[in-house]
Amino acid sequence: MRVAVQAEPFDYGAESAAFAAAAEGAGAVVTFLGVVRDNGGALRAMEIEHYPGMTEKAIAGIVEEAAGRWPLTDALVIHRHGRLAPGEAIMMVATASRHRAAAFAAADFLMDYLKSRAPFWKKEIGSDGAEWVAAKDEDEAALGRW
């Protein structure tokens, strides 16, 4: 299980390949990659603020919760902070399990919880100003699925 919170870009292909290669005994690997959308050209940059110290702790807690609910052989979370350009990767999640249902459910769960329970805040820098992204009711509601 690995959690990385970093300003630097990460190599999604290389991380995915290394995760799969290390997933001994797993029959199923699921990955999720989040990318900054350009909103039809209106977005110049995305600023991601976080709470150093709490971020790593919160994500580790979410991963632990997932590992308690599904028989995972491994899990990975990488989340960036700082200034990102449209098209750049924000974060990725990977899960490995013997069976596909557990790998899918755990990755989906991790995303729902990272979205609403890890201390990150997104600000969109557009051509006509900057705005904090508002949390969506549907994101909070999604937690009720688990």
């Binding site: 919160a58 979205k115 609403s116 329970r117 201390p119 990150f120 997104k122 904090w132 949390a135």
Partner: protein, 84 residues
Amino acid sequence: MTEIDVLYFAWVRERIGLPRERVTTGAATVAGLVAELAAREERYAAAFADISALRVALDQDLADFDAALDGVREVAFFPPMTGG
């Protein structure tokens, strides 16, 4: 009276105008601390105007506004998170 580190993030930080400060307080709960801060200046009052739009963490764990401040060293206020 005890000393507590108070941290602000995202628009709470912007509205109050600083990322963290050391606060001397006699408040027993988070809600008590919020009342003290809101009474300070207009920018604090503005930041804490709608508690339902805020979240709080005590020593880096999410908590409720009626939680006790007993032994807490770090309180953070911020809007609902938007990670992922």
